[in-house]
Amino acid sequence: MSVSQQDLDPDSTTDVEVVTDTEEELIKECEEIWKDMEECQNKLSLTGTETLTNSNAQLSLLIMQVKCLTAELSQWHKETPEITPLTEDVLITLGTEEFQKLRHDLEMVLSTIQSKNEKLKEDLEREQQWLDEQQQIMESLNTLYSELKNQFVTFSETRIFSELKTKMLNIKAFKEKLLSTLGEFLEDHFPLPDGNVKKKKKNVQESTKQLITLHEILEILINRLFDVPHDPYVKISDSFWPPYIELLLRNGIALRHPEDPTRLRLEAFHQ
């Protein structure tokens, strides 16, 4: 106490004297109290001891309690509360102590809050970093996604398209080849009748000039079948050489109309 007191007023010598006076007074008071206590202690040591058994405990304890409580009560009645002399320096000392305590508490609060703040800052930084990372991941994923999407589009539209195109070209070429081969075959093996057949030469000499090839007959039949599917029959004209018609009918390539023998159609191979 004295240390704090002198810290408070290091310059004023008169104050120091007053302080030492009050201090001495307080110490004197304490000494008196201690003396009283020693006396009481002596008296107490003279009283005998008493132990309890389970049977008598309650009653004797209750009696003792009553006695003691009555004594305490009368003591409270008699006593007038004493307070330490409220001189200026005592008040100052008490106030200083109180303030120092308060300062200590407040400092503790401050440091706690500062450390909490720091912790929060660290947390924030960590969270921010985490967020950045997540955003980067998001970005890269997005770019990846868009790349994949583009690839998909080019794949689906251009590549498939070109592939289909080449396939189609191939097929067309193959068809052309097939058609020309078939045409050649027809030309080679089914030529138009020439003057080898003498009998017929006379009879149909006029009409032979207008005869068409087997190739052309087939084309007419095919075109008719696909252009007018509901009525595929073709009228047999003079330009059809009858042996070829017979050939087509015999081999089941063409069919005669069930009611009109002058008309015929191609067998529906494609159905």
Partner: protein, 180 residues
């Protein structure tokens, strides 16, 4: 055979001493640690004992409060405490003794009934607490309560005496268990 008496010595400056009596060393030690962790203005001293009487040749400070710890899981724990009670002066029971029953939480391990301990505490007109000392939070709370009580018993709280506190505690206590 020395009998423990309250106020048999002059108090130490700003010190309060508690004596924990119980057969479970580990639990007492933990409770003592928890009490010493409590923040208070006075200097705390905690003494541990398996049973009373204490050896008479040792110089020890004035004991302000005795806590008898009874483990409900062991019959001997109660026996030790009952025997120890015969070595305590009657004036100690004017607020400077309390009983602490532990282990009531794990009911299937209990050998002693709560009522047995309740009756004992009632016979000696002393407060009884129940607390599972093995649970740290409960132990800390109990330690806090005991420290408050100890400060009052040591006379460090102005205007409240040990007997005063005892009569205050009694009003909130449950009525005594019926005779079995």
């Amino acid at each position: 055979m020395s009998v423990l008496r309250p106020l048999d010595k002059l108090p130490g400056l700003n010190t309060a001493t508690v004596l924990l009596v119980g057969s479970e060393d580990a639990l007492l030690q933990q409770l003592a640690d928890s009490m010493l962790k409590e923040d208070c203005a006075s200097e705390l001293r905690v003494h541990l004992a398996k049973a009373l009487p204490l050896p008479s040749n040792v110089n020890r400070p004035r004991i302000d409060l005795i806590v008898f710890v009874i483990n409900l899981h062991s019959k001997y724990s109660l026996q030790h405490v009952e025997e120890s009670l015969h070595h305590v002066d009657a004036s100690f029971f004017l607020g400077r003794v309390c009983f602490l029953g532990t282990g009531a939480g794990q009911e299937h391990h209990c050998i002693l009934h709560r009522n047995t301990v309740l009756k004992l505490a009632h016979t000696y007109r002393s407060p009884l607490f129940f607390c599972d000392l093995e649970v740290e939070d409960f132990r800390a709370t109990m330690a806090q309560r005991l420290v408050r009580m100890l400060l009052i018993c040591a006379g460090h709280v102005r205007g409240v005496s040990a007997l005063n506190l005892l009569s205050l505690l009694r009003t909130s206590e449950t009525p005594p268990p019926e005779e079995l």
